[in-house]
Assembly symmetry: C2
Homo-oligomer: 346 residues x 2
Amino acid sequence: MPYTIAIDCMGGDHGPSVTVPAAFAFLRGHPEAHIILVGQENVLTPLLSTAPDLAGRARIHHASEVVAMDESPTLALKNKKDSSMRVALNLVKDGAAQASVSAGNTGALMAMSRFVLKMLPGIDRPALCPVLPTVKGHVYMLDLGANIDCSADQLLEFGVMGAMLASALDHKDAPSVGLLNIGSEDIKGNEVVKQAAELLKTSGLNFIGNVEGDGIYKGEADVIVCDGFVGNVTLKASEGLVQMLAFSLKEEFSRNAFTRFSALLALPVLKKFKARFDHRYYNGASLLGLKGLSIKSHGSADAYAFGQAIARAFDAASNHVVERISARLAELHARQEEKNTGKESL
Amino acid sequence: MPYTIAIDCMGGDHGPSVTVPAAFAFLRGHPEAHIILVGQENVLTPLLSTAPDLAGRARIHHASEVVAMDESPTLALKNKKDSSMRVALNLVKDGAAQASVSAGNTGALMAMSRFVLKMLPGIDRPALCPVLPTVKGHVYMLDLGANIDCSADQLLEFGVMGAMLASALDHKDAPSVGLLNIGSEDIKGNEVVKQAAELLKTSGLNFIGNVEGDGIYKGEADVIVCDGFVGNVTLKASEGLVQMLAFSLKEEFSRNAFTRFSALLALPVLKKFKARFDHRYYNGASLLGLKGLSIKSHGSADAYAFGQAIARAFDAASNHVVERISARLAELHARQEEKNTGKESL
């Protein structure tokens, strides 16, 4: 069966001018993939007519409304039933597509994904799991913002979901899972983190123990779990730091004629360096814990970045990420149930 | 009165080979300062004899023991009563010095500072407050590791202490204080953070509201408060990120003859860029909430970095940081007391 990706073409800072070209480029690079362009027909039809070569694999699904980037998630959920974001998710729920991608309003996408696709048993809210670059390759880190106060059980579930994502996308049998903490010793951290460590140790995952902040970028683990508050602050601080360094490097290189000349010579090197950590390459965070695949692209993504998010959605769909997570979580919850029943019967 | 700094000469990864030259260089740059070199006499005496020009302003205070970098803080506190770290703190307590500096074991320094200098009324544990570079200058951020689970009241106290440190060292009347959070809106964050925001709003501080992770390096506030878990993870993640970028930049520049040549030309620029964010320049974190000044240097500090920590200690002493914090906290606690009495009498 060919995999089909539903694309919210109206979302993001740039809308169809970015999402549609990205979708076409993706299709051309993935001859086995299909897409559904979701959004206003009168906008999308002329765009699709420019790509007759893709006619058999791309079709339009009309959605009359658009969720604004600054719209309240609660209101969007209530009022925007025919929005491109929601209709794309409906297509996944109905089985017409195997994953959806949106660059729209994060809060609204969270709320709609949860409402339309529903959570897997035992999971309360989706966890946002981006991919970050490391010295050794990349790391999946979750949760990055949706779950503020997490229980030890939730951190364990993040470990399971992240590990299943990593094993599906990177084809690793037992991806290593680390717990973000303020020291590598067992006695460090708050009570929740200490309890989570105990749970992770007996989870059957390849748990490598605590990872400190610098371990994220040192590539100490394939998956790193933390609560959404710490994850969000850490990720945004990293973004701010990179912006500060890039700004200053530019400033130093444009100080005078000599520095500008040296910049010219160093340009190929600087470009390669930049490409290595290009945040556009890493675009596309997975919302995990849902009964279907929903991928969040950065709102400001350009066509290249949005294409990466589509490719990630396709990879996740064709590697059955949801089925893997669902099976493993069911196992985990059954074991917990057993333990609790055991305790009760004592 | 000349200010005297007690220096734990035996602490840190390098001990006297770094701390003593740093102390001498500091004295030569600060003709009004005095120092006490604390540590093993037989090691320090020959070193001091090499600096006859400083004889009037530097003296040795013998301490027979050394706290190891990996020693348990509890055991160090119990057993190392004649350690250079502890004796330096004793000198501050007794008034022989106005501040102490140590590059030793962080946990032990925390425990000993608390035991020897004692906490200001109402404060439970010292908060670790480093200085970080920003696009606009620098920011004081606390807590960076000592207080894991913080109450809203503690976050408010961090705000007061950080603001007093910033106003003393940077001579600002009303330094801006931000609360680290996952969004700029009031409704964001966990319960503790929301409560802290309410307290900070009516604190009389120049509270600017929530600051997201990227706001740290954008220089959105002079002081940023957060709990020790989030602070520690964020700081270490930043360190790891910078290491990753530096490593990769080096790798790209040493790829072939051409890139090596361009590196040669770019060297002055890269050096200036590096100097701008040189972590050695920012060395010296203040332990706040104590009845005396205790400054923590990075364990791996070289002589330049350790000198920065000594200079920071001297600045804090001559600008009466402890007195300012103590007065402002007393005011705060009196107001809280009043409020509580008011409530009770209702």
